[in-house]
């Protein structure tokens, strides 16, 4: 029980060595008033066989529906090698690599990861990860404000077309330091952030501006124009990107106005959906901003014998040294997910990632074509999109999605709570994991649901 190996003989010998007669004596410094009994509401212990059976039952309750859900978490094929390697005990049960000589496996993996993320995003340096895309986004806004030397403004411009939960998390995290997030509208026809809406902020003191590419609707933004607008006004640019899409899209480092901090959700790179976590946030920046970047960073150096090796560096920025003046309070991050992503990117390479992105794009176009052929379904936006799209119905979305869910098809994410101005709209996503047969099944079920339910 509890993986405790001690036999009664062990315990007796150890107590004797300490010079006490019972384990209870070791707790004598604790005031009696604080001593608690056994937590009776906690169930009795299960052995591994019993717990295995319980978990199998629980898992089978949830099943494996056909899913067209995206909205920040994407279903992609994960090669078997990724988790076979990541769950090796030497990676899985290793600690944070503070003792570099004992952690070269982890450290070199992170160095390779940093290189891949820097290359993918077109930036100079990347860190060893943050918790997830949303908290990384919040950290990026804080960092952008720090690097904006000429301003002490706490106002940040965030498009409404940025993921609503990312905006929520950014608000929750940055408002503790007094930041205000101001929304920029999107064009109702194209789904793109409106350049005209930026004009309203002309001459204002702005700490930073964020751009999500593709945006929450799957629509491709005019990132060149927005970044250029910001750059010419000295406003730091925070780019929020999808890593799979970067195989096909111009990276933020190559945008006309460039970017100062690039972040995103790394889950598409070999990390399972797993109901929202653990994922990992990636962050990359320009070399001149590296000391303002939160999180761990691995560097290559030499050892005593002149051989190359890897170590955590620039630690003076982090909580365990800088304490109250640290760039962030982050300590544990998402090491195991980074390991998985590094293996994934090594297996896929640029060409493999391009194939994935192309297949996602093609499947989504197929999905749009199949669903908009149905009476009562139309595409919300005209602008080009990547691997998800917004569809509008002629009746409330909730009941329709519920109907399809009963048939084990999850057709999309209901946007009504977050974007009421879109009317009855949902966000659907088709990745390389969906076949034409899957899309036909979705179309068939949706047509069926709309025909048997009356229009509102």
């Amino acid at each position: 029980m509890a993986f405790i190996p001690h036999t009664p003989e062990d315990v007796a010998e150890m107590l004797a060595a300490i010079g006490v007669t019972s384990v209870e004596q070791l707790f004598e410094e604790i005031p009696a008033a604080l001593r608690a009994g056994t937590p009776t509401s906690v169930p009795e212990a299960l052995n591994e066989m019993e717990v295995g059976r319980l978990m199998l039952e629980r898992a089978s309750v949830d099943g494996l529906p056909l899913s067209f859900l995206g909205a920040g978490a994407y279903e992609h094929h994960i090669p078997a090698a990724v988790w076979a390697i990541a769950t090796r005990g030497e990676f899985y049960s290793a600690y944070t690599p503070y003792q570099a000589e004992a952690s070269q496996g982890t450290l070199q993996t992170i160095y390779e990861f940093q290189t891949m993320i820097a290359n993918l995003t077109g930036m100079a340096v990347a860190n060893a990860s943050l918790y997830d895309g949303a908290s990384a986004f919040a950290e990026a806004l804080l960092m952008a404000a720090r690097i904006h030397r000429k301003s002490s403004s706490l106002r940040v411009l965030v498009p409404r077309a940025v993921h609503p939960y990312y905006r929520d998390a950014a608000r929750a995290i940055t408002r503790q330091q007094g930041f205000e997030l101001e929304e920029i509208a999107y064009e109702s026809a194209s789904g793109r952030t409106a350049l005209a809406a930026l004009a309203a902020h002309e001459g204002h003191d702005i700490a930073a501006i964020a751009i999500q590419q593709p945006n929450f609707f799957g629509v491709l933004e005019d990132a060149d124009a927005v970044s250029e607008w910001a750059r010419s006004r000295g406003i730091p640019v925070v780019a929020l990107v999808n890593p799979t899409a970067l195989a096909l899209l111009k990276p933020p480092g190559a945008w006309r106005g460039g970017a100062d901090v690039v972040v995103g959700e790394g889950q598409p790179l070999g990390v399972p959906l797993c109901s929202g976590g653990p994922y990992f946030g990636f962050m990359a920046t320009r070399l001149e901003h590296v000391r303002q970047m939160p999180g761990r960073i691995v560097g290559r150096t030499l050892d005593l014998a002149g051989q190359p090796g890897f170590t955590l560096t620039l630690q003076a920025r982090e909580q365990h040294i800088r304490r109250g003046r640290a760039t962030s309070n982050i300590c544990t991050n998402q090491g195991l997910m980074v390991t998985a992503a590094t293996v994934y990117l090594s297996l896929m390479g640029a060409r493999g990632l391009e194939r994935v992105a192309t297949a996602c794009h093609a499947r989504t176009r197929e999905l749009i074509a199949a669903l908009t052929r149905i009476d009562g379904v139309r595409a919300a936006f005209t602008g080009p999109c990547f691997h998800e799209c917004v569809l509008q119905l002629d009746r409330p979305v909730g009941p329709v999605l519920a109907r399809l869910a009963e048939r084990d098809i999850l057709a999309g994410v209901d946007l009504t709570p977050h974007y009421p101005e879109l009317g009855s709209a949902f966000l659907a996503c088709a990745t390389e994991t969906k076949t034409s047969a899957d899309i036909r099944a979705l179309a068939f079920a949706l047509r069926d649901a709309l025909q048997t339910q009356h229009a509102a």
Partner: protein, 131 residues
């Protein structure tokens, strides 16, 4: 035992101050401080033209094991920062009182320098801290 030149004044936060002929003061960190920090890897120097208040942090020195704020001993305006430190932060370790100076400030009120510690008093402070 760390060095404490007799012709300088000192702050409790381990900065030293040298008054230059034109009234501008030159500031750096003491030998004790550079020893405690270890090999310096980076210096974040203030920009000329910036105003600082007395005891306000206005620069950062960073080693592998610590990042330390440098506090201005006087209120005034920064007139110069030591450009060499950008490429050679180790100059502070090598010559903390000479080529390792960090910034020069024109004080608003030169009389306030009298509040700083004399070398002997700084020495007593270090003894109390166990140097």
């Amino acid at each position: 035992m760390s060095k404490i030149p007799a012709d300088l004044k000192y702050a409790q936060t381990h900065e030293w101050v040298r008054t230059l002929p034109d009234g501008v003061v030159e500031i750096g960190i003491t030998d004790h401080a550079q020893q405690a920090l270890g090999d310096l890897v980076f210096v974040e120097a203030p920009e000329p033209g910036r105003r600082v208040g007395a005891h306000e942090p206005f620069a950062v020195v960073e080693s592998v094991k610590a990042a330390s704020d440098i506090y201005s001993p006087v209120a005034g305006e920064v007139v110069a920062a030591n450009a060499e430190l950008a490429s050679a932060p180790e100059r502070i370790n090598q010559e903390p009182y000479g080529a390792g100076w960090i910034a020069r400030i024109r004080p608003d009120d030169p009389a306030s320098l009298a509040d700083l510690l004399a070398p002997a008093d700084y020495g007593k402070l270090l003894e109390a801290e166990g140097d």
